[in-house]
């Protein structure tokens, strides 16, 4: 893999990539500046990309800032993730119609317009793969997710500018995209211009690249791309301590006093679940017409931080904030392995940045680890 021959796109080549995707019928989605954040939305040209912008992130903190260069992908991740396009925040599952002959249930047809994502980070590729496990690889694949997922074209961007809350390196989910994309770009600066080293990840990617003005990378360009990624590995703002041990650590510390302490700060607002690229939980709502002749059954994103989430005739199983925070964090880092065979956390850091009180999942793990009852018992 290390010796794979890169191609090089110039900034005009990236513009041609956007055009080529649109010509092929894709709805092209990428990062763009809106409401003082870099979000994912429809993009039509280079001008829509957050060129010259970066993000400054910390616990409970996200700010846009001007870069002193004109990098196109010189930021980490914003509040959005690609899940809002693949695993829709609101998805009608079926409608019902009542008539003289009875009731009909009409399954919602799957959506047809293929999506192209430009600027998918390695952590996000892992997040998409994790949602694939949940939504496609069980006994009952989600047809809506599958249709969008199978049609999607993924242009990854290797991270060269990690954020203050990033910890993908410690989760083995980045910063370099190792698969699961059609094309992967690594942005470098050379001779006063932005250049993009391209890796091909699929036949579709190869076919698209052939249509774009590109040339072979020089050894110097390939080395610069690798160096940019390697540099990112060392500049992560956070690290998950001893990530491989975390599932077992949390399993044996379900009654750790730290849960109570974090619950004192946690507002149970659910922001972390909304910004998390792997959180998949949903609820359903039935909406009936006034005359009762028709209704629809709509699936919405839900959050395990609500009381309703665990409601069981008469009360909520997880009534305390302590238990709801514990549910969220142990699910991400521990029980997800039992349920789906992977971690539920990719180290993107969104939950840290977007927590209104700055709760930091890596800090919570470190605190529990620091007073692990089992470890204390062994040492004592």
């Amino acid at each position: 893999m290390a010796t794979r021959q890169h191609s090089i796109l110039t900034i005009d080549g990236v513009a041609a990539l956007l055009d080529a995707l649109r010509r092929r019928g894709y709805r092209v989605i990428g990062p763009t500046v809106r409401d003082q954040a870099i979000v994912y939305d429809d993009i039509t040209s280079l001008a829509d990309l957050p060129r010259g912008w970066t993000d400054e992130q910390g616990a409970g903190r996200y700010r846009l800032a001007r870069r002193d260069d004109d990098a196109v992908f010189g930021f980490a991740v914003g509040p959005h993730s690609w899940k809002k396009f693949l695993h829709s925040p609101a998805q009608r599952l079926w409608r019902t119609e009542r008539s003289a002959d009875g009731v009909r249930i009409i399954a919602e047809p799957v959506s047809a317009k293929p999506l192209a994502f430009v600027g998918v980070r390695s952590c996000e590729l892992h997040a998409i793969a994790i949602q694939d496990r949940v939504l496609l690889e069980g006994a009952y694949p989600d047809q809506h997710y599958r249709a969008r997922r199978e049609a999607a074209f993924l242009v990854a961007v290797n991270c060269t500018e990690p954020g203050g809350t990033c910890f993908c390196a410690s989760m083995n989910t980045g910063p370099k995209a190792l698969g699961g994309y059609d094309l992967a770009l690594t942005e470098i600066a050379a001779e006063g211009e932005r250049r993009f080293a391209v890796d091909v990840g699929s036949a579709a990617g190869s076919g698209l690249l052939a249509e774009l003005p590109h040339r072979a990378a020089t050894p110097g360009e390939t080395a610069a791309a690798e160096a940019a990624i390697a540099g990112a590995t060392g500049r992560m703002g956070r690290a998950m301590p001893d990530a491989d041990e975390v599932p077992a650590l949390l399993r044996r510390n379900l009654d750790h006093p730290r849960w109570e302490e974090v619950a004192d700060r946690c507002l149970t607002c659910g922001n972390c679940t909304m910004v998390c690229p792997t959180c998949f939980c949903t609820t359903v709502e039935d909406v009936a017409s006034l005359d009762g002749s028709a209704s629809e059954h709509v699936q919405h994103w839900d959050s395990c931080f609500t009381m309703d989430f665990s409601y069981l005739h008469g009360g909520s199983v997880r009534a305390s904030p302590r238990s709801r925070y514990r549910q969220w964090m142990t699910h991400k880092l521990s029980t997800w392995w039992d349920q789906f065979g992977t971690s539920g956390c990719v180290g993107c850091g969104r939950c840290i940045s977007w927590c209104p009180v700055g709760i930091d999942i890596t800090e919570e793990v470190a605190a529990i680890r620091g007073s692990d009852s089992a470890a204390r018992g062994r040492e004592g």
Binding site: V103, I105, P141, D286, G292, F309
Partner: protein, 275 residues
């Protein structure tokens, strides 16, 4: 048996054939749903049009063709709407989902069936199958406890089972007046009276979680190994196909890994508060 995914995620329209009142808040519906195979312990999602879906265990005879039987307690808006349906009314239905009681696997063993309250409903298909192939098993005891005589489910059927000489059927209530001549006391007290060989007995337990925990405790005191005890878990459930996240119970998804679970696997989870 294998159903196409679409039928699992979108209901079919079935029809209510009959509705019978069991207790003051509980009704049993017979639902015509065409050909439908299920295992004892599995459940369906029942859909009240325009109101919502609820998981309800299958309570009929898995070996008999005919309508599906569901016993529903009217506690929420969907269950209230479903218990108000009349013969001929349409109802949405998808399933079956979930794991099964280890009925066939218990061949050669003594079997204790222990139900509490509405927990008898998911056990009834197992009882039907055990009794249909009675000679494959050793001792069989059906132990049922509920709140009061007025809360007893399937009363006539229990009386019919009680007339069998090859099966012990005991009913107890927590509260009674002098008009009740049966047992008074919690269902766990019936375990000591049942005849079984603890080394070769399997216990199928279903009821409120506290009752199952107490029952498992009594069963272990009677020397039945935790891995031969099965319980049926209940959690909030929206999708029944492992994708909504609501039915998480620690490392398990109740819709996919349960509702029937082996007690030794869930024992550490049952004592974690608010899991």
């Amino acid at each position: 048996m294998a159903r196409v995914p679409e039928a699992a995620s979108v209901p079919i329209v079935a029809r209510v054939r009959a509705r019978r009142r069991e207790t003051h808040d509980t009704w049993t519906l017979s639902i015509e749903a065409g050909e439908f195979a299920f295992e004892p312990g599995q459940f369906n999602m029942l859909y009240a049009f325009g109101i919502g879906e609820i998981p309800v265990s299958l309570s009929g005879d898995p070996g008999a063709p005919g309508p599906l039987i569901h016993t529903v307690r009217a506690v929420g808006s969907a269950s209230q709407a479903i218990t108000r349906l009349r013969p001929g009314d349409p109802i949405g239905l998808r399933g079956p989902f979930g794991t099964a009681w280890p009925v066939d696997e218990s061949t050669g063993s003594d079997v204790l069936v222990i139900g509490g309250g509405l927990g008898l409903a998911p056990l009834r298909p197992a009882i039907y199958r055990l009794l249909a192939e009675r000679d494959r098993y050793g001792q069989i005891a059906v132990l049922y406890g509920t709140r009061s005589p007025a809360d007893i489910l399937y009363r006539r059927e229990i009386e019919r089972w009680r007339r069998r000489l090859d099966t012990a059927v005991e009913v107890t209530v927590d509260h009674a007046d002098a008009g009740w001549h049966g047992h008074v006391g919690v269902v766990t007290r019936l375990i000591d009276r049942a005849a079984f060989d603890p080394d070769h007995a399997v216990a199928l337990v279903c009821g409120p979680e506290i009752m199952m925990r107490f029952a498992a405790n009594t069963l272990q005191a009677a020397a039945i190994a935790p891995e031969r005890i099965y319980v049926a878990m209940e959690r909030n459930m929206k999708c029944a196909i492992g994708q909504c996240g609501h039915c998480q119970f620690g490392p398990t998804l109740v819709c996919r890994d349960g509702a029937v679970m082996r007690y030794d696997r869930v024992r550490p989870l049952l004592t974690v508060r608010e899991l």
